[in-house]
């Protein structure tokens, strides 16, 4: 597994500068890097708590509107193609896997695998968005299946279907925004990996971003059955 190992970056002719991750120090108010790492990780977890509770509002939106307008949701849900949802779920799950693997690679100092996994995660996120936009958002846009006053879809079955589309765009939109931010972070880390930023002594950003990415994944794990499967 560890056969694919790349050289340290930043090597000049015969005079290798030490990679950044080996010269890292900690902020002055922590005792050591371990201390800093633990504090940072707890901070990330608290941030994830806020993320979950941010999405809780959308879950509440879903629960309340589904309770009030079940027929609208039943029909609205049937207008989504679960196959694209399934593919996107698989894409996101695999990206979660590569994100976890990237953490492992950073911990073990396997620079080549690290870069590969960071890139794969980034690309999977992009693939998710591409599928979302090209095969879901765009046709719905054309069909007029838009939220609120932009809704022009003529073949509604329940007069309250606008609530379904309001929820659909709000929930997937907020989720897609999070995916977009994650892609940006992974691209940024991919570049920084080439500069030798990450290694066994310094991988908080890899781990923190991975945690964030997993939460985005978990949100989608719930959104997928809620939007596509529950009729």
């Amino acid at each position: 597994m560890s056969t694919l190992s790349m050289d340290q970056p930043g090597q000049a002719d015969g005079a290798p500068a030490p990679p950044i991750h080996e010269t890292a120090t900690h902020a002055h108010h922590f005792r050591d890097r371990d201390h800093e790492f633990d504090a940072a990780k707890m901070g990330v977890w608290l941030f994830l708590a806020t993320e979950v509770l941010l999405f809780s509002g959308l879950f509440m939106y879903y629960a309340a509107m589904r309770y009030l307008h079940p027929e609208a949701f039943r029909h609205g849900s049937s207008l989504l193609d679960w196959r694209w949802g399934l593919i996107n779920t698989a894409v996101l799950l695999m990206s979660s896997f590569t994100a976890a693997a990237a953490v492992r690679d950073a911990q073990l100092g396997r620079q080549g695998w690290l870069k590969l996994n960071l890139l794969l995660t980034c690309l999977a996120g992009l693939a998710f968005l591409v599928i979302k936009f090209v095969f879901e958002y765009y046709p719905k846009w054309l069909a007029g299946e838009l939220p609120g006053k932009y809704y022009t879809y003529p073949n509604w079955e329940d007069p309250n279907e606008v609530h379904w589309w309001g929820l659909y765009w709000a929930a997937t939109g907020v989720h897609a925004t999070h995916v977009l931010i994650g892609i940006g972070l992974y691209a940024w880390m991919f570049v920084r990996a080439f500069l030798g930023y990450y290694g066994p002594k310094r991988y908080m950003m890899v781990e923190g971003t991975a945690l964030y990415w997993h939460i985005v994944d978990i949100v989608w794990i719930f959104l997928f059955p809620m939007l596509y499967l529950i009729h």
Partner: protein, 287 residues
């Protein structure tokens, strides 16, 4: 790599470790084995297929044997699988299983808070009419246009928006014929619903099957959109205004069908005003 070379640093001199440091050092930074990661990924993909399969089976059973499966079954199955999946992600991908317990505690309290929010709010929504039986004798059916037949809430949204003079909103389009017919169906449906439920359900199912193909042809194959059910409202300049700033201009020209849209239609103010608000009359086609 697996060699811990340095002695504990910092406060070794006086032999005091702060509680914070004790917390921090109570665990090692665990590397999750690749085997575990792969197994978890497999399990996640498997559960994903399982949840799709369960939904399909429910639909198949419902359609084949003509039984109505209560919705809570559907919801319970799908969400249970989702819970298992997210537990897997949290435990292994996010390494909560190996991590400092404080972080698991954070996650736990987050979920509790979420449950409070959803649970207590649903207590209100689900029981708002708990003493309704006592009040019901005084209250008329139908509310104040709660299910105003013939007007979708979306049309209502645009109607409201136009009343509020929001510049970007186009006035209502005259309804195409098939939609007007659909409105009549809607009214019938509500009448049926008021009379007896099973009949209404059968009507509803039948119509949905009948329309089902069209929906999918329409909703997802609508890049060209030239079918009989193509939405003419894309074809009009007014409809394009609705999405101004969001849609490419060329999208407005697609699926144009002349018979619905004589140019006079969208310049004649008489056709633009919305149905009388407060009235329960369905929107009528102008042509």
């Amino acid at each position: 790599m697996a060699h811990h070379a340095h002695p504990p640093h910092g406060h070794a001199g006086h032999g005091i470790e702060s509680p914070g440091a004790a917390e921090a050092h109570s665990h090692a930074h665990t590397v999750v084995p690749m085997r575990v990661l792969v197994l978890v990924l497999m399990a996640l993909l498997g559960f994903t297929f399982l949840t799709v399969l369960a939904a399909s089976i429910e639909q198949w059973v419902s359609a084949t044997f003509d039984v109505v499966i209560p919705q809570w079954v559907n919801v319970a199955v799908a969400l249970s699988i989702a819970v298992v999946k997210s537990l897997l992600v949290a435990a292994f991908f996010m390494a909560l299983r190996y991590d400092n317990p404080t972080n698991a505690l954070v996650a736990f309290f987050t979920v509790i808070t979420l449950a409070f929010f959803l649970g207590f709010t649903m207590i209100d929504l689900g029981n708002r009419d708990a003493v309704y039986a006592k009040k019901a004798q005084y209250i008329a059916d139908g509310g104040t246009g709660y299910h105003a037949a013939g007007t979708t809430q979306a049309q209502r949204a645009r109607e409201i928006a136009s009343q509020e003079s929001i510049d970007l909103i186009a006035r209502d389009q005259p309804l195409p014929k098939h939609l007007a017919k659909f409105c009549v169906l809607e009214i019938e449906r509500f009448h049926a619903q008021a009379k007896e439920l099973p009949e209404y359900l059968r009507t509803f199912q039948a119509r949905r099957e009948h329309l089902g193909k069209n929906y999918h042809d329409d909703g997802h194959g609508a890049h060209g959109g030239h079918g009989a059910l193509a939405r003419p409202d894309h074809a009009t300049p007014n409809a394009a205004v609705i999405r101004s700033g969001l849609t490419l201009p060329e999208l407005g020209g697609k699926g144009h069908s002349d018979e619905h849209h004589a140019p006079a239609d969208h310049h004649n103010p008489a056709d633009h005003h919305t149905p009388a608000p407060g009235g329960d009359t369905p929107a009528q086609p102008a042509d």
